[in-house]
Symmetry: C2
Subunit: 426 residues, 2 copies
C-alpha cells in the first residue's frame, strides 16, 4: 500500500470532483488510489474535492433534476459524472418521515423526523457506502469486491457486485446464524466462513490485501475505505434537501466505527460552504448501545481517546469495540454542542417498539439505539425538544427479528362474535 | 351493505377524481361508500372516475413535479387532492431496474426490467393498496383499520394504521409462524389469533362486518376493497413514467386474487386514454405457482371459469385457491395476446437465486414465481425476447427466508493464506 501503487493506478482515474487523497491528521496529499493510510503519519486518508467550479443555484438545480437516488449528488461525490448510467444498486433518497406521533410521545415540539434508511436495496445504509466503493473499484480496475462482515455489509457487497458484474468474495465467521448466512449467500458470490471470530476474519483480510493473492481485490471497507466512507455524506445531503435545503438543528446518529457520524458532519459543512444551506449552528449527538459504548464512556469522562471494549449487545451492527473514528466523533459532538449517550438492550427493544407503534417504522436494533438515545437525551435535557431534530434509522427490523421475538398475539379467540366480544375487542 | 348505508356516508366524501362506484358486471352505479358488491347483480364494484378536466401536458407536469411516492398520481386515484399532507406510509416510486445481466442469461434483447416493490415501507406491494384503503377509511370516518392476513398484508395494515393514528385489528390464524407474528405484532395494534384456518378467519371477518360490533371498522380488502384495489394501478403508472412515458411491450405479473393484474391493465388503459402514453398493443402475462395454479390451469384448458384449488406451494403470498378476479385475468391475458403460466416450487427457488445472482435483488417467493414464469415463457416462445419486458417483484426475500434456507457458505477456511489458496479462492 505504498506510494508506488498509487502512482501506477491513478493516471486514468476519473472520479469526478475527487482531486486527491488527503490525510485527516497531517494534511499530506497523495493521488487518488486504493490506499487508506497516510504514508507519512499513518493517519486516515480521506477524499479532497475540487468544488470550485460550482455556482450555487446551478448546482441546486442540477441536483434537483437528478435521479431519486444518491447519484443526484454525483457532483459532490468521488464518482464519474455518468455514474447513474453504470450498473450499481442506486441506493438513497430514502424517506425523511415527519414523526408527529413520536414527537408527541417524546414531547418534541420543534419538528421530529426519522431518516429511514431501511428502504435501501438491501435495507440498510450500507448500500450507500458500498455503492461508492463499487465505483472506486471500477475506476481502479478491480474485478473482485470483498469485505469482512457479520451482517448488513455482506448483503450490500453481494448485491452490488452481482448487479455490476463483479466477482464478490465475502468473509464471515464460520458460525454465523443461518439467517444471516442466507441473506449474504443468496447473491451467489463466494461466501467464505473463517474458522475464528470476527477479529480473526479482519486479520486475515488485512493479510490478504498485502499478498499477491489479493491483487485486483477491492475490500470496500479497507483499501477502498476513503471512497466507501464518503457514501455517508449523502445522508446529510438528503436530510437537508428533504427539509427544503435547510440544516436541522439537531441530529441523532448511531456510532459503530464512528465514520458515518464524521461524514455526516463533513456533508453538512460542504453544503454550508457551497451555499446550498444557510450557515447556522447544528448539534450532532452520537448514539451507542450500553454493551458497546466506548465513545459514550469517553465522552462522559471528558476523555479525548477511546478505550476499547469487548462488545456485548443485541445491537450487533453497532458492536465495534474499538471504533477507528471515535476521537473524531468526540471532537464533533463537543464542537457542535451535541453529546454522546448510550442505552441498554432493554431500552433498545422498547425504542424499536415505540417507533413501530407510533410511526409504523420497523427498525433494526441500531434504530432502537438512536430512538432510545433521543428519548434519553430529551429526558436529561441535553436534546432541546423545541428544535428541529432528525433521528437516523440505518437498518431494517426484519434483519434483527430475534431482538423482538417476544412480541406476539394480543388475543386468541374462536371464530365467532361471542368469543370476539368476550375478549373485549368490540 | 345496502344502498341506504351508501346514501348516509357519501355526502361529504372527497376522494378526488373518484365519481362513483360502478359494477364491473352490469355497470350499475352507486355513490362512493364502504361497499364492495353490486346490489343488483352481486358483481364487484370498482371506482369510476371523472378525468374530463385534465389536459394531457398539464397533467404530466403535475405528476412529474409530485412527490417520489404514489401520491404523485393523486389526480388519478380515489384520494383527496391534499393526500400527500396527511399521515400515511407513502409507498411507491420503487426502482424499475434495467436487468441487463438477467436479460443476457434469458436471451432477452429488447430490454428487460424488474419493477422491484421490495423497497416499499413494509417491503411489499401491499403498502400501495393499504395506503389507498387508509384514505378511504379516513374519508368514511372509520377509526379502526382491519384485515385478515397470513403475511404481508398484516404488516402493511399495522404500519399504516400506526402512522395515521388509527386503531388496527388484524386477524390471523392462531398457529402462524413466529417470525410472521412478530412482523405483524411489532406495530402495536391488536393482533388476534383465530382458532382455525385462513378460511375460518375470513368467514369470521365477514360476520364481523355485518355486525354492529364491526361498526367504524374498515376492512381494507373487504368493505374498502374497491379503493384498496386501485393502489395496484400505481404500478402501471410508475412503470410507464419510469420508461419515459412509454408502454412496455410485455409485462409479467403475479396472480393471487388476480386483482393486481386487472388493475395494472386498468392503469395502462387510463394512461392511453389520457394521452400520457401512445396507444399501442401490450401483452400481459400472469404468473402462478404450480401448487396454486387455478388460473393457469383454466387458461391452458381454454376455460372462462376458474376451478378452485387447495393451495400447496412455498409461494404463500400467492396462495389463493379461489381467485376472485380469475375470470378477468383470463380475459385480459387472452385479449392482450399474453398468457398464464406456472412454475413449480423448485423453479421458484431457482428463479429467486437467478435474480439475486444476476441483479442483486433478493425477491420473495412471489418474485421467484414471476421470474421463473418469464424464463419458462421465453423458452416456450410465448414471450418475445426482442420486446421490452417488465417483470414484477412484489415482495422481499427477507420475508421468505425459509424458501432458500439451503443457501450457504461456498467454502470454510482457516484464517490464513495457505488455507485460502487450498480452497481455490485465489
Amino acid at each position: 500500500m505504498a506510494a508506488q501503487t498509487v502512482a501506477s493506478t491513478t493516471n486514468s482515474v476519473d472520479l469526478g470532483p475527487a482531486a486527491a487523497l488527503s490525510c485527516r491528521e497531517c494534511g499530506h496529499r497523495v493521488p487518488l488510489g486504493p490506499v487508506f493510510a497516510c504514508e507519512e503519519c499513518f493517519g486516515p486518508l480521506e477524499i479532497a474535492y475540487d468544488y470550485s467550479a460550482y455556482e450555487t443555484e446551478e448546482l441546486r438545480k442540477r441536483i434537483e433534476a437528478g435521479p431519486a437516488n444518491i447519484w443526484r449528488y454525483a457532483p459532490l461525490l468521488p464518482v464519474p459524472a455518468d455514474v447513474a448510467d453504470k450498473p450499481n444498486i442506486n441506493p438513497g433518497w430514502t424517506p425523511l418521515v415527519k414523526a408527529d406521533n413520536l414527537a408527541r410521545e417524546l414531547g418534541v415540539t420543534g419538528g421530529l423526523y426519522i431518516k429511514d434508511d431501511s428502504g435501501n436495496p438491501t435495507h440498510s445504509f450500507k448500500d450507500r457506502v458500498v455503492a461508492q466503493a463499487l465505483e472506486a473499484a471500477r475506476a481502479f480496475g478491480f474485478t473482485t469486491l470483498s469485505c469482512s462482515s457479520t451482517g448488513n455489509l455482506a448483503g450490500a457487497v453481494g448485491a452490488a457486485a452481482a448487479r455490476a458484474g463483479f466477482r464478490s468474495c465475502v468473509f464471515i465467521p464460520h458460525d454465523l446464524e443461518q439467517g444471516k448466512v442466507v441473506m449474504a449467500a443468496i447473491y451467489g458470490g463466494e461466501l467464505v466462513g473463517i474458522e475464528g471470530n470476527y477479529d480473526d476474519v479482519n486479520r486475515f483480510c488485512s493479510e490478504l490485501i498485502g499478498d499477491p493473492a489479493g491483487e485486483g481485490w477491492g475490500f470496500v471497507n479497507v483499501n477502498l475505505r476513503p471512497y466507501y466512507a464518503e457514501g455517508s455524506k449523502t445522508l446529510a445531503y438528503e436530510i437537508c434537501e428533504q427539509l427544503g435545503w435547510k440544516l436541522p438543528d439537531q441530529l441523532v446518529v448511531p456510532i459503530a466505527s464512528g465514520s458515518q457520524l464524521t461524514k455526516i458532519d463533513k456533508g453538512l459543512q460542504e453544503l454550508i460552504k457551497l451555499g446550498l444551506v444557510e450557515d447556522k449552528p447544528y448539534k450532532i449527538f452520537g448514539a451507542q448501545a450500553e454493551g458497546c459504548s466506548p465513545v459514550s464512556v469517553a465522552y462522559k469522562a471528558g476523555h479525548d481517546v477511546v478505550r476499547p471494549q469487548k462488545p456485548n449487545t443485541i445491537a450487533k451492527s453497532l458492536a465495534i469495540g474499538n471504533p477507528a473514528d471515535g476521537p473524531y466523533v468526540l471532537d464533533i459532538a463537543r464542537r457542535t454542542g451535541g453529546a454522546v449517550e448510550d442505552v441498554n438492550d432493554e431500552q433498545v427493544v422498547e425504542a424499536i417498539k415505540l417507533l413501530a407503534r407510533t410511526e409504523g417504522i420497523f427498525a433494526e436494533t441500531a434504530g432502537g439505539v438512536t430512538v432510545g438515545v433521543a428519548k434519553k437525551l430529551i429526558e436529561s435535557g441535553l436534546l432541546d425538544p423545541s428544535l428541529t431534530t432528525v433521528v437516523l434509522n440505518t437498518g431494517d427490523g426484519l434483519k434483527t427479528l430475534d431482538a423482538v421475538a417476544g412480541t406476539g398475539l394480543t388475543a386468541t379467540i374462536r371464530p365467532n362474535l361471542d368469543s370476539f366480544r368476550e375478549a373485549g375487542l368490540a
